[in-house]
């Protein structure tokens, strides 16, 4: 019995470590091949710097370009946008579910907005908020809002009929029906929406930083690229990737906590 219960977690952990190691291995292999190609002259080193140079440039951009504080800045902007996204996106989806008129009126254009290049509106935000972090945050927020709204709506409307009926048969009030049935049933889908939203937000935050030459990693990338410091540019991009990795780790924790908690 103890054997039987002890075995599955171990197998799960092993199968969890193996793909991660393989993934890391492929990445390393990719960089090694890249390095060889560049050194042998197969690739132009003025277009793609060799990975070894990128790694070598890390200390430089950390010391000289304050990459860490920029990283924190971009991360903070993304987190702020992410929190706003979650609050307003989920609330928007819930409202649209609650008021059918609102849903019929807005669903189509919210969906249209989801695929529109909202980032092109950045001059408007620049005028409203000035050249500061709020322009960047609002841009990330607005462009990532539609998927969160739509996924929330989809999750709530997609709650299985029989679960709603169970709630009704227990005489739940509309508030209880929402918090005890619709919302938990929709939670997995809502998380898909938030994840999508965060991707949008990150892209837009870094993009706008780049465009308005202000703030965190986006600006740094802009500057380094202009200085033609390719190794530094790629090193800075690595930090952008790090932001997204940290994001998804936090999100995964939150999801596990929310969907497994009582």
């Amino acid at each position: 019995m103890t054997m039987a219960t002890a075995t599955p977690p171990r197998r799960v952990r092993l199968s969890g470590a193996l793909p991660a190691l393989t993934g890391l291995g492929t990445l390393v292999a990719f960089f090694v091949i890249l390095e060889i190609l560049i050194r042998s002259g197969g690739l132009n080193r003025f277009i793609v710097p060799p990975p070894s140079e990128i790694i070598a440039s890390f200390p430089r951009i950390i010391v000289e370009e304050q990459v860490l504080s920029r990283f924190v800045m971009t991360l903070t902007e993304c987190l702020t946008a992410g929190v706003m996204l979650t609050v307003f996106g989920v609330a928007g989806g819930v409202l649209m579910h609650r008021f059918k008129l609102l849903q019929q009126a807005c669903e189509t254009w919210v969906a249209a907005l989801a695929s529109a290049p909202v980032v092109l509106c950045y001059p408007l935000f620049l005028v409203i908020y000035g050249r500061n972090a709020w322009t960047i945050i609002m841009m990330g927020f607005v462009s990532a809002l539609p998927p969160v709204i739509l996924k929330t709506l989809e999750g709530i409307s997609g709650t299985r009929k029989v679960l709603v009926n169970v709630g009704r048969s227990f005489n739940l009030t509309p508030t209880q029906q929402f918090w005890k049935i619709l919302f938990p049933a929709a939670l997995p889908t809502i998380f898909v929406g938030i994840r999508l939203g965060l991707i949008f937000a990150l892209i837009n935050v870094v993009g706008v930083e780049f465009l308005i030459n202000f703030g965190g990693l986006g600006q740094l990338i802009n500057e380094l690229a202009e200085r033609y410091d390719l190794a530094g540019t790629y090193a800075a991009i690595c930090f952008v990737v790090l932001v997204s990795v940290m994001f998804f780790m936090v999100l995964e924790k939150a999801e596990r906590w929310l969907t497994r908690a009582e």
Partner: protein, 281 residues
């Protein structure tokens, strides 16, 4: 069962009176339940049996107050039903556990609603979990259980709310024969102990005869009452009764009724298909 006294109707806790349910579909109106009338007495175990698609679940939903009916009256203890009634507990035909709650939290759900303190409701929930034979699975989640086990969780959840009237729509359909019989025994025990009024919807004749005081046989399309059969078998009944001769007679009688309806149903559907393919070509 004693013969119905002249004022038996007064003792009926649940009354279904001349109920009609008609659905508007693209192919025109479909009458799912057609002028169905019957009463369920306090403490009685009544089964509704009929071929697939005859309107059993529709009737179940109407009595549960989940869907409206076209005409007629459904009442519980004299109160007309047009929304879910407090004293009715429902077990659904489809999988209806909450996937985000553990077995214990699923079963404790109705107790949580009445504000029972946590420690107490967990203890209550364990009692009902044990009753449906799921001890040891208290902390599992529904996706870790088999279909039959999930169905038992739903049953335990409804039992935990201790409804005056228990309404079940084919709750054992996903179970294998042995589990079905054993669980049937349990439900019967509980029902007898609490003298709980129970309405069971099923298409399993053995199950119906084993458990019921009366069986209502429905016709296929439109769903009418074909016959109400009194089951005069001694109680307490266990699954052992299944082998007896009297039991066999009841089964044969109901089977004869049902076969007629089922074959009519099959014929109907075949004609429907033929008609349609004929029309399309």
């Amino acid at each position: 069962m004693t013969a119905p006294s002249p004022n038996a109707a007064n003792a009926d806790i649940l009354v279904v009176d001349d109920v009609v349910v008609r659905f508007e579909t693209q192919e025109g109106p479909v009458t799912a339940v057609d002028h169905v009338s019957f009463g369920v007495r306090q403490g009685e175990f009544l089964s509704v049996i009929g071929p697939s698609g005859c309107g059993k679940s529709t009737l179940f939903n109407v009595i549960g107050g989940l869907i409206g009916h076209t005409s007629g009256v459904v009442s519980v203890g004299g109160e007309t039903i047009d929304s879910p009634h407090k004293s009715i507990g429902m077990v659904f035909q489809e999988e209806s556990t909450f996937p985000w709650r553990s077995v214990t939290d699923n079963v404790a759900f109705p107790l949580e609603l009445i504000g029972m303190p946590k420690a107490q409701r967990i203890e209550r929930a364990r009692h009902f979990i044990a009753l449906v034979g799921l001890d040891g699975f208290e902390n599992r989640y529904p996706n870790e259980l088999s279909g039959g086990m999930r169905q038992r969780v739903s049953l335990a959840r409804t039992l935990a709310s201790e409804p005056k009237i228990l309404l079940m729509d084919e709750p054992f359909a996903a179970l294998d024969e042995q589990t079905r019989l054993l669980l049937g025994d349990k439900v019967l025990q509980i029902q007898q102990q609490l003298k709980q009024t129970t309405l069971l919807i099923t298409h399993n004749i053995t199950e119906a005869v084993q458990m019921s005081d009366r069986i209502l046989v429905m016709t296929y399309r439109p769903g009418k009452v074909k016959r109400i059969v009194d089951i005069d078998l001694p109680r307490p009944r266990t699954s052992e009764i299944v082998g007896s001769e009297a039991f066999g007679r009841y089964v044969a009688q109901i089977w004869a009724d049902l076969r007629e309806e089922a074959s009519r149903g099959m014929r109907d559907e075949e004609e429907h298909t033929l008609h349609h393919t004929g029309g399309a070509s």
